[in-house]
């Protein structure tokens, strides 16, 4: 076994440290070491998006990176976005629009959508955007394209897009993290 790697990172505002098996993914670190099981393991291969978390403001699949690579990083998981008593705007909208059924892909959808809204505000284009300056008034197809890395087998897609659209329209200028 190689030398034990170490990492110090901030998870949902709390400093955390890791020193252990270099094979440990960020996903398993969150779930098994920190008990933050809101981040889900659906495929462990970057195919489903259930493990989406926000690292330094950008969404990633936590199953595809090793925790040892995250020294100095700032990680936000679904637990960091809100609590049952204080839901984030997206979390509230997912409940209102029934943007989930079984709930297993849901934390990944919400983390992904949270970061995606910031990407829209920052003017990032996507493959469906006309031009390179980013959409000023994103269509539903624009949202669908940007959320297509997050699978939902229950088929709540229409409701997820409705939830995201509501937040997009009510909080267009929400400060990004």
């Amino acid at each position: 076994m190689p030398d034990t790697p170490q990492a110090r990172l901030v998870v949902n505002g709390t400093p955390r440290s890791f020193a252990g098996d270099p094979r440990r993914t960020l996903l398993d670190f969150l779930r098994l070491d920190l008990g933050l099981t809101g981040t889900k393991k659906g495929c462990d291969h970057g195919q489903c998006g259930a493990c989406t978390v926000i690292v330094n403001g950008r969404r990633i699949n936590a199953c595809l990176s090793l925790v040892a690579m995250h020294d100095g990083d700032d990680v936000t998981t679904i637990e960091g976005l809100g609590s049952p008593e204080a839901l984030s705007a997206l979390q509230r909208a997912f409940v209102t629009h029934d943007g989930f059924q079984c709930g297993y892909c849901t934390p990944g959808q919400i983390c992904s959508a949270t970061a995606m809204l910031d990407e829209l505000r920052a003017g990032w284009p996507s493959v469906v955007t006309e031009g390179l300056s980013g959409p000023s008034d994103p269509s539903d197809d624009e949202l669908r394209e940007r959320m297509s890395g997050n699978l939902c087998r229950c088929g709540a897609y229409s409701n997820i897009i409705a939830a995201i659209r509501e937040v997009l329209q009510t909080e267009p200028r929400e400060a990004s993290a």
Binding site: D21, K40, A50, T77, Q101, C102, G103, D141, Y157
Partner: protein, 732 residues
């Protein structure tokens, strides 16, 4: 009151209640837990000293394990043990089995079948050792069949033969005789199958991901050779099931065996690849549809014969013709399902077994017959609704098919469709519209639920019923709130624990109507006691917002309870209503597609579904069930296909990168119309099931829209570009 549902309960109790919550589109009560990541799923319990287990799949397609080289991995870091116990499962349990499935993992029935479990201190250590574990096999793949087209078929079980179909086909002015193929499907629930087993003396607690807890307990107990009374299953949140979690699978027994041996809790989570390779598949099908009609479009002959596959000794055969039996008229009929035996993983229930693939072929054939006979496709369907169930002569409990076709057509704008194909082109895309009927059998299942009315007016509902995303938490609470006149926020619902009364479980769309009826009956018993205390007849009692009224009397609920807690257990079992009537849910799909003139790629542009399934218990969760079904229909239509290598039977696309479930971009805005109806034959709630109806025929509407767009008749599902391309019209 007898638990058996022998006579329709036409009192229509829920419509006479006053609380006003039944049917309302209320948010799911567990929603805040799910959207914040606080709802614990099977693998997410933190048990002290929990060891991690990883299963090892067979590398041969058929044969026997002759040696497991345990010694070579036992010294690897953290390894605690390698298990190949005779109790471990070779195959998962079929839905509703209630007994042990095929055990003994020394025999290999299909490639990827779990043959050993490696347990270590950490997940990484167990994974490394599982990969390093060397296993010797006696390979008898040469004697196994891998190609369903090449293996022999068994005679059909209980075929329907009425009249003379051959003569009807010969003599009728219009007929079609078509062969359809559908590929196998995976449930692919987002949560992989997982179990944490912990023994306390001789008592097992298993945190698992299950659909039918009351059946899973005896399956697990029998597999382990222990008394079911000493097995507790906890499954309050289930990350999707779609049939794949009806029965226990490899993870549960392996975790329990290892935990018993090691004297500490063991967690076993299937990898995504193992879920695909070893749990449950929907069989591929080959279907022959023969339809014959007279000059007016009246069906005189109807044939639907299917060939499906399964492993040797499995009784399950995808019931492809299930809805064909009752949906359309036609005196001369032949319906049959035949099974062929192949070395592929177990075939079993995947969302809407039977109708999910049978209806899409039937509805595509109906479209072709309509064209052949020169009749409007909606008119053809309406013209062929039988007065009584063909062959059985029993009445239909209720049927909203005509209303679904009419309301769906109006909402969709069906009148803008061109009857002839290739009439609309936008850039490089052909545009077309299609319609299909939806139908799915309806059934009750035995269920119990307990309701407690506390002295302060709080209501508790308890059952081992599961909520796999279906909305059980929401609708069971709404039924109790309506019946007991309680504000919804004073009702709590506890589910998914085998210590609670046995609910119906989540399968066959029967969970809501069955367990909901048990809740209704428990509440009815509580109402009887309350009306007696108030001194009025039960039917005079009105309960609303914690107040009881009746005759000229009134009291607060709390006052009436006088410090007592009232507790009742309600029960229901299927009875004569299930035999005396043909029960089904009905609907209609309307779809607009764009087919690329150069690549033959199909995109769904919009889709409308209108569905009738008795009383709507919660308009929000019911709509979501319909949406989900339609998304499955889109997958079945365009992308989903299990692909097996015909040389050795291995599943080529064993994960979500190769098996394509619909993603956001594949699903346009979907329109759902819920048709209000009351079906007292179906249940005392006047409700039927809704979890599967949204798939049943959906892909047929897509197929018909593809034809309408580009003039190519699809006969293979999924309708990928390669199945259409060589027949596409000149794009220029």
């Amino acid at each position: 009151m007898s638990a058996t549902y022998d006579a329709p309960d036409r009192r229509n109790l829920l419509d006479h209640m006053r609380q006003g919550v039944i049917g309302k589109p209320l948010d799911r009560p567990e929603g805040p837990l799910k959207v914040t990541g606080r709802a614990p799923y099977a693998a997410e319990y933190d048990l002290p000293r929990c060891a991690e287990g990883v299963l090892v799949g067979a590398r041969v397609s058929n044969g026997r394990v002759t040696a497991i080289h345990r010694d070579e991995v036992s010294a690897m870091p953290g390894v605690l043990g390698v298990f190949a116990d005779p109790a471990m499962l070779r195959r998962p349990a079929q839905g509703g089995a209630g007994k042990a499935p095929a055990q003994d993992v020394t025999q290999v029935d299909y490639k990827g079948q779990p043959v050993a479990l490696v347990v270590a201190e950490t997940f990484e250590q167990a994974t490394a050792a599982a990969k390093a574990l060397r296993i010797d096999y006696e390979d008898s793949s040469d004697s196994a069949h891998f190609d369903p087209d090449a293996a022999g078929v068994e005679p059909p079980k209980k075929p329907t033969d009425l009249g003379d179909l051959e003569a009807a086909m010969r003599d009728a002015p219009h007929h079609v005789d078509l062969i359809f193929r559908t590929e196998g499907h995976a449930s692919a629930a987002m949560e992989p199958h997982a179990a944490i087993a912990a023994w306390d003396g001789g008592e097992l607690t298993l945190h698992g991901s299950f659909q039918m807890v009351a059946y899973n307990v005896p399956e697990l107990a029998a597999s382990l050779g222990v008394d079911p009374a000493r097995v507790r299953i906890v499954s309050p949140y289930v990350g999707g099931g779609f049939g794949s979690k009806l029965g226990i699978s490899h993870d549960a027994v392996a975790a329990a065996v290892a935990a018993r041996e090691l004297g500490r809790p063991v967690r076993v989570v299937l990898t995504r690849q193992q879920v695909f390779e070893s749990v449950i598949r929907r069989s591929e099908t080959r279907q022959r549809l023969r339809l014959a009609c007279d000059e007016t479009g009246r069906l005189v002959g109807l044939g639907h014969e299917a060939r499906v596959s399964n492993l040797p000794d499995e009784k399950f055969a995808e019931p492809v013709t299930q809805a064909t039996k009752f949906l359309y008229a036609g005196d001369n009929r032949r319906l049959a399902v035949q099974v062929t035996r192949v070395a592929r993983l177990t075939a079993g229930s995947v969302r809407a077994p039977g109708e999910a693939v049978g209806m899409q072929a039937l509805e595509a054939a109906m479209d072709e017959l309509a064209e052949t006979a020169g009749i409007d496709p909606i008119a053809l369907r309406k013209r062929n609704l039988p007065d009584k169930a063909p062959g059985e002569g029993i009445p239909f409990s209720s049927r909203t098919l005509v209303e679904a076709l009419d309301r769906g057509a109006a909402a969709f704008g069906w009148d803008r469709r061109h009857a002839r194909p290739c009439q609309t082109r936008e850039g490089e895309w052909w545009i077309g519209m299609g319609v299909a009927s939806a139908a799915r059998v309806n059934m009750l299942a035995p269920a119990e639920a307990r309701v407690r009315l506390h002295p302060d007016g709080r209501v508790e509902v308890e059952s081992d019923q599961t909520d796999i995303g279906t909305g059980s938490y929401a609708i069971l609470g709404q039924i109790a709130a309506e019946m007991l006149g309680s504000p919804i926020d004073r009702v709590t619902v506890a589910l998914g624990d085998s210590r609670l009364p046995p609910g119906a479980g989540s399968g066959g769309s029967f969970g809501a109507a069955s367990t909901g009826s048990a809740v209704l009956r428990a509440c009815e018993a509580i109402r009887a006691e309350l009306s007696s205390r108030l001194g009025v007849a039960a039917e005079e009692l009105t309960l609303q917002d914690g107040l009881a009224r009746g005759g000229n009397r009134s009291d607060t609920l709390v006052g009436l309870l006088g410090g007592d807690m009232l507790e009742e257990t309600g029960r229901i079992e299927p009875g004569r209503t299930g035999k005396d009537y043909s029960q089904a849910t009905y609907g209609a799909f309307f779809c607009e597609v764009a087919v690329n003139a150069f690549t033959a790629e199909t995109r769904i542009r919009r889709m409308t579904g209108a569905f009738g399934f008795g009383r709507v218990l919660n308009a929000k969760t019911a709509r979501s069930q319909c949406l989900g079904g339609m998304v499955w229909g889109i997958g079945s239509a365009l992308t989903e296909a299990l692909q097996f290598d015909l040389r050795d039977g291995h599943l080529v696309n064993h994960d979500l990168a190769g098996y394509h479930v619909p993603v956001h971009r594949d699903v346009p805005a979907l329109d759902v119309i819920l048709l209000e109806e009351r079906d007292a034959v179906a249940s005392p709630l006047q409700a039927k099931g809704v979890g599967e109806l949204g798939i049943c025929g959906a892909a047929g509407a897509v197929a018909n829209a593809i034809y309408n767009a580009c003039g190519v008749r699809p006969y293979r599902f999924p309708m990928t570009p390669d199945t259409l391309l060589d027949q596409m019209p000149d794009p220029f």
